[in-house]
């Protein structure tokens, strides 16, 4: 074993801890170098999307299901938080919690019947939920403000300080996002996570190993809805404004694209996918103008050449090489 090989092996062995450490450091110093509101606004949005995409990735990438309606749960969080804190004048933290419970309830109601479906049917059912929620947001003016949305949503407060400036929001959002990523990593390394992976690969085999597949699917669907709602609440309290167009079916499709591009069944892939697809349109004008076409093109290219997504595809390659290397040195 050469020194280089030893080092690479060490890095691989401690990859999770090292990634968390590196990322935390990077995020801690980031606002010192990129302090302007525009870049911070962008990275804050990435943090929020990461939380949605993580939940969706647990559902799509690990449990092997499909949802084209997660923007609906994102909307429940955002509008729930907005209405409860503006109209009912509740504390934003409480509003966030109640909105999350609402999203869990909605996911349970939708999931119990819909998760008996597979593939295209499940995709259509979840898409339907998104369309219903979107229509309610646009049509029920009296409550939701209609197409023009709701403004003046109060920020979250911590120890009496309102978290409203971009720098404060940066630390708030990324702390929450990192905690969610860590919880996600815990989940996928546990017996429950293995049950989900088994379910995604082969439902019959999973059942023969004692996995209650129906309950497992509903549980992870509810979990992903709660994460989307949490992200929605963060969105509302951070930007102070919500309007329906953020929560349409194209948002749902974008989330799925982020999951697929970042990496199916990769917790870190969620972060990567959310970052890449939020950041690219900002740096390349072409993306902004032809966003739908470019997203579609990226999706097709990834599916053709790295069908498990960028991060998962690369991790699979590394794992294979490592397994080969270890059996040579065993």
């Amino acid at each position: 074993m050469t020194h280089k090989e030893k080092l690479l092996y060490f890095l691989w062995l401690h990859r999770t801890g090292l990634t968390v450490l590196g990322l935390s450091l990077l995020l801690a110093v980031y606002p010192l170098f990129y302090g302007n509101p525009y870049t911070l606004g962008l990275t804050n949005l990435i943090g929020i999307y990461t939380i949605v995409v993580l939940g969706l990735n647990l559902f799509i990438g690990y449990a092997g299901q499909i949802s084209l309606g997660h923007a609906a749960f994102f909307a429940v969080g955002a509008y729930g938080s907005a209405l409860l804190s503006v109209e009912a004048e509740l504390s934003p933290w409480l509003a966030m919690l109640l909105a999350g419970l609402g999203a869990a309830l909605l996911a349970l109601l939708v999931g119990l019947p819909a998760l008996r479906l597979h593939g295209h049917y499940l995709a259509m059912a979840t898409l339907g939920v998104n369309i219903v929620v979107y229509t309610v947001l646009v049509q029920w003016d009296a409550l939701t403000g209609g197409p023009s949305g709701l403004a003046g949503i109060p920020p979250l407060r911590l120890a009496g300080i309102a978290l409203s400036d971009d720098r404060q929001l940066h630390y708030l959002i990324w702390t929450v996002a990192l905690i969610c990523l860590l919880l996600g990593l815990n989940l996928v390394r546990s017996g429950v996570g293995r049950g989900l992976a088994a379910l995604a690969a082969d439902e019959i085999a999973a059942r023969s190993l004692g996995v209650d597949t129906r309950t497992a699917k509903v549980k992870v669907f509810v979990l992903s809805a709660v994460l989307a709602s949490l992200a929605g609440s963060l969105y509302a309290h951070s930007f102070g404004f919500v309007s329906p167009e953020t929560f349409g079916i194209f948002a749902s499709v974008d989330f799925v694209t982020m999951v697929v591009v970042g990496g199916l069944g990769s917790v870190w892939g969620s972060l990567f996918g959310a970052a890449l697809l939020t950041w690219l349109p900002e740096v390349i004008d072409l993306f902004e103008t032809y966003k739908e076409i470019v997203h579609g093109l990226i999706l097709v290219l990834v599916l053709l050449f790295l069908p498990r997504g960028l991060v998962s595809g690369l991790v699979d390659l590394v794992r294979l090489r490592l397994a080969r290397w270890r059996s040579r040195h065993a």
Partner: protein, 254 residues
Amino acid sequence: MLEVTGLCRNFDGLPALSEVSFGVPRGEVTALIGPNGAGKTTMINCISGADRADAGSVHLSGEEVTGLPAWQLARRGLARTFQNLRLFPRLSVLDNVLCGLTVEGGSSLLGALLRPPSLRNRERRLRLRAMAMLDRFQLGELADWPVGVLAYGDRKRVELARALVSEPALLLLDEPVAGLNHDETAAVAAEIRALRAHGYTVLLVEHDMDLVMAVSDRVVVLDGGRCIARGTPAEIRQNPLVLEAYLGRASATA
């Protein structure tokens, strides 16, 4: 260990199983045989929870388990292998075998998210058990490999290791030598004998008469959805009904 009593299953009024009864005694290898269309597959499906019998009962370790879903049967000690292998190809060999320990349940979703120290220790113990099982099947060196890239024989052993890691009360082997050559079949026969020596209770569903005669303590013969004979391999070999069921068909297709 397993008691099947008066099991019936009809498909659109056509009986696939009628009044089938047999037992699988503890610590023995019992074979379920029969020509094509005899009802073997329907029987396995009813025993393993993939299908529901119309009448009759199934008892596992003395408890009635009739009509329970597959995942509950698994948690009550029924483990199985599949005719054409049902592994998780992207997961590593070790993770596949660890999946065999999900029958022990354990952590809730919330617990899994928070990963308290108790769960961490439990995970460590599970890994040790899975590694021990891999070593028993000479798979230790392949632990990190994704199952999908392994040779067929290795994958078969992974599936068996996955089924056995939870120390099941009953092991159901569904046509373990389908598609194997003569030497490989002999290796599987040796493995089944080793399982018996370890004290496992096995229900073997198989086409291959030579294998069945070589490894079984008892044989149950199905034909046309009925149980036509039961006994030791020697008795079955001389049973005229069995000879007719097999040879009759063989000469008809020849």
